[in-house]
Structure formats: C-alpha cells, structure tokens
C-alpha cells in the first residue's frame, strides 16, 4: 500500500535521488559507537537537534493556550498546566528541554573543541555554531519571561539591566528590549514575538547552514 503510493509518486517526480542524497552517507568508523564506544561523544550534535525539534513541537502546542498579555499570561499558563490534559507534560517538555538543549549544545561544543574539528577547513561551521549558541541563549532569555511570574519578571529585569551596562549603546538596548520604560505589557509582547517568530526563524536558517556545511565537508578525521 505505502509502497504503491510511493512508486506512483516516484514514477512521476523521481523523488528517490532527493532523499538518497540526504540519507546515503557513510558513517566513518571513528564516529561509530559500535566500533569504539568512546565515539558516543559524536552523538551530542544530533541530540541537540533532536531536543530542538521537541522544543519547536512542544512550543507550537503551548501557543494553542498561551496568551502574551500581562493580565492573562500567568492565568493561561496556570490553566494549560493544571487544567488541560497532559499540560504538565507538554509544558514540562518545553521547560526541561530548554535546559537540556543548552547542556547538549555545550557537550557538542566541547567535543568539537577537543577533537580540533573547528580547524581549517571547518572554521565557518564553528562560527555558525557559535551563532546558534547565542540564538539558543536568546531563546532561553526571551522564553523565561513568558509565564509572567515573579521569577520571570525579575530575571528579565536583571537581564536587561546587564544589557544596559554596555558602554554607550546600553540604554538603547534596554529601551529596545523593554519596548517602553518598564518591564510591562510591551516587554511581554516583544519577548513573545522574538521568542516564537524571530529567533526560531534565525535558528532554522543557521541550522540549515550548519548541516549543509557538515554534509559538504564531512566529519573531521580521527584523532
């Protein structure tokens, strides 16, 4: 059944080469944990991506109930977590996944650093990886405000005041992040927009670049 559908489409559009290009590539022995168990350190990049996918999915589902509004934000989070079935799990996935992404990304960075994989010709991929790192930090910072509880409020206040201590342009950065003079209604909608539209868009573009480059250059050789 599935095979017939696939063949019908393939006859017309010749899609097999498309996915074969993506799927058919050799995994060298030195990155295969079946050969050397210590090669599990090469898994952290993939794990980061896996958790990122979970973050995107769970985030999409959370926005079915969440509102970025100072009156209702906390109430809507409380409702989706405690009244909606599996709300605790879906919010938990997004909450703990956020920390786990940072952990996995950090381990991936360490692996790349200690295997020297950032060296020529892969410097650009290191730079893109660093951009991804900062985008992830931005996602964590903006997402932290959204439940609009005390912790969120003061974390954002502190974070923006740190940003405001940048010489010369600090106060402009603070105004841009606040969207006004206080951490308030405009800050919340701003952070929501950055968290769900701007940064994920940038993240997906950077991830695409990251993966294209690694596919083009291949995994770096053994130590």
């Amino acid at each position: 059944m599935f095979k017939n559908v696939y063949n019908w489409i393939d006859e017309r559009l010749d899609i097999t080469p498309l996915w074969r290009d993506v799927a058919d590539h050799e995994v060298p022995e030195h990155v295969n944990p079946a050969h050397h168990f210590s090669a599990f350190v090469y898994c952290f990049g993939g794990l980061t991506f896996f958790i990122t996918v979970i973050q995107i999915l769970s985030g999409m589902f959370l926005t079915m109930y969440y509102v970025p509004d100072i009156i209702n934000a906390y109430a809507s989070v409380d409702f989706l977590q405690h009244q909606v079935a599996f709300g605790q799990i879906v919010r938990g996935m997004h909450h703990f996944g956020a920390s786990l992404v940072i952990v996995m990304m950090f381990l991936h960075t360490l692996r790349v650093f200690f295997t020297g994989s950032y060296k020529a010709p892969r410097e650009m991929n290191w730079v893109v990886g660093m951009l991804i790192f900062f985008i992830m930090l931005g996602l964590g910072f903006t997402g932290y405000l959204l439940p609009w509880d005390n912790k969120a409020y003061y974390a954002t206040k502190v974070g923006v005041e740190i940003a405001a201590s940048v010489p010369y342009i600090g106060s402009y950065i603070a105004d841009f992040l606040y969207g006004g003079d206080i951490v308030g209604a405009q800050t919340l909608t701003r952070f929501f927009a950055i968290h769900v539209f701007f940064l994920p868009g940038a993240l997906i573009a950077m991830l695409a670049a990251h993966f294209l480059m690694i596919r083009r250059q291949g995994i770096s050789g053994p130590l």
């Binding site: 979970i54 999915l57 769970s58 589902f61 079915m64 109930y65 209702n72 109430a75 809507s76 409380d78 409702f79 989706l80 009244q83 909606v84 079935a85 599996f86 709300g87 799990i89 879906v90 996935m93």
Partner: protein
Amino acid sequence: MSNHEQHETAHRPVQRKEMSRRQFLSYTLGGTTAFMMGGAVLPMVRFAVDPLLVKKEGGDFVKVVEESKITAEPQEFKFKIHQVDGWYESDPELVAWISKGEDNKIFALSPVCKHLGCTIFWNTKGHNEYDCPCHDARYSKDGKNLAVANSPLDEYEVEVKDGFVYLGPIVPNTRS
C-alpha cells in the same frame, strides 16, 4: 565494484524462513523510532484535542423575574450567567423573550436569529411577530419561523419555583 556484482550474481540465494538481518534491523529501528516519536507526540496531541474531550457542563438555572410579571405579550428580560472560558471567567448578560402561551405555559425564547445569528426583537414592525433587522426574518410568538429562517427560535429551559422564573440551558424549540 564489478567484481562485487559478479559475486552477488554468482552467489545463489539461500532459502531461509527466518527474517533477514536487514529486515530485523529495520523493524527494530522503525519500532524504536515509532516508540520515541509516539512518546513525544502523543501527549502533545492529547493536549491539543483536550477541548473535544472535556465533559460539557449542564448550565445552571438563573433566577430572572417574578412569575407575576409575565404576560401574554412577550417581554425582553436580561439576566447574567457565570461563564468559565478557560482561564477567563466572566458574567455575560443574556437576553430572553418571555411570555405566556395560549396553553398558559411560560416559555422563553432566545433572541438569536436562526438565519445568520443576528438579534431579533418583538413587534418592531407592528405585526405581532419577532423581526430580525438583518434580513427580515420573521417568527411567530411561539418562535415558529415564518420567513427567511429555516428553523424556529431556540428556547431556554424554564423552571418556575416559589413565584420566580428560572432560565437554564438553551434547547431546540418545543412549541412549533
């Protein structure tokens, strides 16, 4: 490469009933992947479809007006219900047109036109009918659809207790 192919064709396939290694691996991998995907996606799907599975609560009856004030001529009465909409609770005001029928029974009509949902009023054109301002739908005193709309006006469930009229959930028209 050509050497390899020759070898393949020269080699006679062994007929075995067991599952091949490739098949076993693809089943195991597929099963594990499906399990992990399911574990992640099922809670989210259940989360999304929760509104479909929540039990609908029967509305409470609300005290609206003294029984003695109800006449044969429909009158408009406003009353407030308590509404819980997710995290937002409010007390919206509803409208009912209450009158006594020829059977001397008190009944209450919803003012929502069954054509396209505008709000109807009693006797705005002097024909002793309910008129809808949007597309000239008309209903009899019992809510029977006379023009434009293709079903009669809904009713509120009515309860008369201790000289007061109480209104409950909306039900399809029972009088026409």
